[in-house]
Amino acid sequence: MANEMGKRYICKKCNSEFIVTKAGNGTLSCCGQPMEIKK
């Protein structure tokens, strides 16, 4: 699952947030699980 430019991703386990400033094909993960787009 690719990540999307400008979206905020959140780790549902530790609540860390990431902003994507350059999109790529990888899946962002944290605490051993994929991160989700913050709604």
Binding site: M5, G6, R8, T21, K22
Partner: protein, 519 residues
């Protein structure tokens, strides 16, 4: 994270979006970032190092933003100077900051030349607009350098801006503002840049003021387009809202009053505006209620803060501007609209202290004090003033007086040194001014203390009447008699044409006291 990341993030997310619109010129996020890098490289070549101070004397313009980010990327400190300041005050600020570089706009070149012999720390002067023999030209400097990004080792707690306070009550004080102060505020209150959402922020507040810097940094992090005006002019402001479809603006009360009282108000399409933030001086109840009626689609926010707090510390939010509910709730909300600055933001603690440093219960007037990670740790190289600014246990004394209601809303009751003490009773000038503003013939009013042999001090009203109106002193005093407790009503009235104000619209009470402060 530091404030330079705000620009880097937005330049990555929305590189082609306009970051700045200024007098027909448009600069995208990518261009702003590149130009800041070029200037940073040029300044580095001039010998500027981390921690050096660089001063700016110019009205709002794109170069102010480019210079801020260039200076910040070098880990140096930006010193925005009040462009209305006179020679002596400017010299004081430059020397106190030990500025190495002084940037100056066209209209300030002669002023800079006149004070330069007294500024031993300034090694380089940079002319922003015109090529002149004795200074470096801004555009040549920018064009001469590469746009490689400089990555300085910037700590979150490093100082990014040295800002001098307005000085309405004395000599300006240097307030060091840290990256962390702005980052904490912006991350808590602003959505980051998004490729899907475009907002346009109309900036008229000067960038030497903390409210201007806060609005600028919030806009850059939010990927918003900053529509910059050199200075506020009411018709130009409405025209800019219409032309650029501005969605947000910050206004001081006098500016908002000019907008809603303008005969051409209905000729402009202001429907794009959805947020107006106001602050910097007390908002007359009549002005905000009229504005809410005339701009019913706008969400109003009253933001309160000062340079020492790095930005907003309390806010009266949009929900507080909706007068709905039971009659009791409506009355409560109307009262808050009249003089409350809202509730403390989540990362700030605010309380009211009594004369002996005790925390006062709701309803009692005392000193408003604040604590939190954004509050300054002290004035720049001034231990004595720093000591006076804090309580022994580290609360910042804001110099504003006020009280808190049972729900935690803070109400202003005047600056500590503006308070009128009549026979031991404190009289808040704002309360008397509100009574004066409710008189149909009064355009503006300010109340000061004058000495009185019997009472120590008594209130005196300085009144500006609406155009074409006439009124007598007795008429104004009679109106106040009906509105105020007897001891609070003014004992004399002076009519003048215009109240003296600083650039932010704050009434210069010190000046009024000097001119009209005799009994």
């Amino acid at each position: 994270m530091n404030t330079t990341d705000f620009l880097s993030i937005s330049a990555a997310i929305c590189p082609d979006r306009d970051a700045i619109v200024f007098e027909g010129k448009r600069i995208t996020y990518s261009q702003l970032s590149q130009r800041a890098n070029k200037l940073a490289n040029a300044l580095s070549k001039l010998g500027i190092k981390q921690g050096d101070r660089l001063a700016m004397l110019q009205v709002n313009c794109p170069e102010c933003l480019e210079t801020y980010f260039a200076v910040a990327r070098l880990g140096a400190i930006y010193v925005p100077l009040n462009f209305r300041a006179k020679e002596e005050e400017l010299s004081y600020m430059c020397n106190h900051a030990e500025a190495k570089v002084l940037f100056a706009g066209k209209r300030y070149l002669d002023l800079v030349r006149s004070i330069l012999p007294n500024l031993p720390s300034v090694k380089t002067c940079i002319s922003i607009d015109d090529k002149v023999a004795d200074m470096q030209l801004y555009s040549e400097l920018v064009n001469s350098a590469p746009d490689d990004e400089i990555v300085a080792d910037i700590g979150d707690e490093d100082v990014t801006i040295l800002m001098y306070t307005a000085g309405t009550t004395g000599r300006p004080k240097g307030v060091p503002l840290r990256h962390s102060g702005f980052v904490s505020y912006v991350l808590d209150n602003v959505e980051p840049a998004s490729p899907d959402m475009e907002e346009r922020n109309l900036l008229t507040v000067p960038l030497y003021h903390v409210a201007g810097i806060q609005a600028m940094l919030a806009a850059i992090y939010g990927g918003r387009t900053l529509v910059i005006m050199r200075q506020f002019e009411v018709n130009e402001w409405m025209k800019a809202v219409q032309q650029e479809h501005a969605t947000r603006a910050m206004l001081v009360p006098t500016m908002l009053k000019q907008v809603i009282d303008n005969p051409d108000f209905s000729k402009y399409d202001l429907s794009s505006l959805h947020v107006i933030t106001y602050g910097a001086s007390p908002m007359p109840f009549e002005v905000i209620t009229k504005a809410m009626k005339m701009l019913p689609w706008v969400r109003f926010i009253n933001a309160f803060g000062q340079t020492e707090t790095a930005s907003t510390i309390t806010a009266l939010g949009p929900e507080d501007h909706i007068i709905e509910g039971t009659e009791e709730e409506k009355q409560k909300k109307l009262k808050r609209l009249g003089s409350s600055i809202g509730k403390p933001l989540p990362d700030v603690e605010v309380k009211i202290l009594g004369e002996n440093g005790e925390t006062l219960p709701p309803g009692e007037i005392g000193d408003i004090v604040a604590k939190g990670p954004r509050i300054m740790s002290g004035y720049w190289q001034d231990e004595e003033k720093t000591k006076k600014a804090f309580t022994p246990d580290g609360w910042l004394i804001t110099s504003d007086r006020g009280w808190m209601d049972e729900d935690g809303y803070v109400f202003l009751a005047g600056r500590g040194d503006d308070m009128i003490i009549r026979g031991g009773e404190n009289i808040s000038p704002e309360e008397v001014e509100n009574a004066l503003y409710s008189h149909p013939k009064v355009e503006e009013a300010a109340v000061i203390a004058v000495p009185d042999s019997e009472w120590g001090q008594i209130p005196k009203a300085i009144v500006v009447l609406k155009k074409g109106e006439t009124a007598t002193e007795a008429e104004i005093m009679e109106h106040c008699r009906a509105k105020l407790a007897s001891f609070k009503r003014p004992r004399s009235v002076v009519f003048i044409d215009e109240l003296p104000r600083n650039t932010l619209g704050k009434v210069l009470r010190k000046q009024l006291r000097e001119t009209y402060g005799q009994a």
